[in-house]
Symmetry: C2
């Protein structure tokens, strides 16, 4: 049997057919085209699913479950999307709509939580009991799996790890707080730090990298550090310290077996991981534990497929 | 049937007999007298339990389970206390020692987690699915219950919510980090803030309260604020902001149904709760949710008995 996973985003609907080895064997895609009525969006999910099945060479009668990862908060018992700012959704009965259209039992979760669950079941957390996924992208997102279950909270809104303040009265965050982890550890924050360094106007290596790249993005500081810029090396060190600060907070509170780091900045690999692990080894409450009693820090493995796979496997969250 | 709960501290061993309504009906006590061999401490637990049974008028054959709350980290599967700095314990097989001595099935947990579990089952979290206990004492401690289970982490060391950094490079903390929540929201931090205000030397109301109290403790700033000190009112407001910062972090990450606040400072009651709730209403990620979809903030109910009751009920931690 197969499962269907749907990754609903503000721009695209991506649907995958997932086999029993947790591999995506067919994909379909539609534009989300918001704003429009939820029913129409769900109709396009079904159309994209038919494409995915076609590509996979699988029939709908071989599908067992359907899972959906959506932006916003999902009411855990009913599968109602209570609110999604991105999609202009208010109280959309997603589970019911999916079950009616597909004729299969359906499961609905937050998109970041689904991606975390995918990494947990099929990627970086495959052999772990608990895992926290940390995504360093435009923002800092993630998902928490403790004791084999996604932590969604009593209202389905848990997992906003990026909106933990690590600097009281610090940088303003879009969420309304000041000093959120996201404002220091996201790709956006890295770009802000890079621009601030540029304003000092004395890093020719950085300027050369930016000229070649054509823009200031989250990669140029790491690239300039590799080319020998001391100031950029220091900037990357400071950035890693911010990343590690939030990770140690998570470790001290929740002690997951694995923390996996994904998102755009994670492509820096060891250049990011080495200083992050160094800070954690200095600062975590359990730093004197034996190694097997300490959280393993590693890179995410599934990339953008994590959301589809996690959605397809939501029925295992139980 | 009855259960025995043991609260093992650095100074005292307190044992209670807990009935099926979760009330303590008899108590016994011994000095911990550290450092001494774990076996002797466990022998005194048994002696204190006999006193407690005697006071309760209950026989050991009416006891079903024994539970122990201990400082330090407990290996979840085996009930071994892997390490406790306070007690000088290293790999003490607590579950095994208790089961041999009492002839009953025994359960072992961290003391702060046991107190949180007691509040969850029998106090502030009685009707909730998830709860986080926050204790504002010498430090900031607590425990996390998600989906009816204590979150202990894969290594048994979870729950150190006080050691989440809220101010990068802030006040030094005993744990080795800088800027921990504990360093801003504990009674100790409140005393430090009060002393800093005194050094300005221009608050006669505060000085009068301190003279009457005979010392600078965590109560004098609140007392002076009640007597009309504007500066102390401002100090209490700042303190509440620090308390709320960590609480909003917990809400955004975990969305528990209830957060209960205990420990010495919680005796200020509404004077503490009102500004804390106000900050949460301004800052939490789910502040626009309907009221029943938002975390309830309330005071802890069981005081020092929470640890004994929680230990006695550890068998319910499914």
């Amino acid at each position: 049997m197969y499962n269907i996973g749907i990754d609903l985003g503000g721009t695209n609907i991506v649907v995958g057919v997932v086999d029993k080895n947790n591999n995506i064997i067919g994909k379909g895609e539609r534009k989300t085209n918001i704003p429009r009525p939820a029913e129409n969006i769900f109709e396009d999910m079904y159309a994209a699913a038919l494409d995915a099945l076609d590509q996979a060479g699988v029939s709908m009668k071989d599908v067992e479950y359907v899972g959906l990862g959506t932006p916003g908060a999902v009411e855990p018992e009913t599968g109602v999307i209570t609110y999604s700012a991105n999609l202009f959704f208010h109280n959309v009965p997603a589970k019911k709509l999916l079950e009616e259209r597909f004729g299969k039992m359906a499961f609905v979760g937050n998109d970041a939580n689904c991606a975390a669950f995918g990494e947990y079941i099929a990627g970086a957390g495959k052999f772990a009991r608990d895992m926290i996924a940390v995504t360093l992208g435009t923002g800092v997102g993630g998902g928490i799996i403790m004791d084999e279950k996604l932590v969604v909270g009593f209202n389905g809104a848990a997992g906003e790890i990026g909106h933990m303040v690590i600097q009281v009265d610090g940088e303003h965050c879009n969420c309304g707080r000041s000093g959120c982890w996201e404002s220091y550890a996201s790709a956006t924050a890295l770009i802000r730090m890079t621009n601030a360094l540029r304003e000092k106007g004395n890093d020719p290596i950085l300027e050369k990298v930016i000229a070649a790249e054509g823009e200031v993005n989250a990669k140029v500081a790491y690239a300039a550090a590799r080319e020998g810029s001391e100031q950029c090396a220091q900037l990357c060190e400071t950035y890693a310290k911010y990343v590690a600060t939030g990770i140690v907070n998570l470790i001290n509170m929740l002690q997951p077996e694995v923390i996996c780091i994904g998102g755009g900045v994670s492509h820096e690999g060891e250049a990011l991981l080495e200083p992050v692990k160094r800070y954690i080894a200095q600062q975590s409450y359990t730093r004197d534990n034996s190694e097997e009693m300490q959280t393993v820090i590693q890179l995410a493995k599934l990339g953008n497929d994590a959301g589809i796979i996690g959605a397809a496997l939501l029925h295992k969250n139980g």
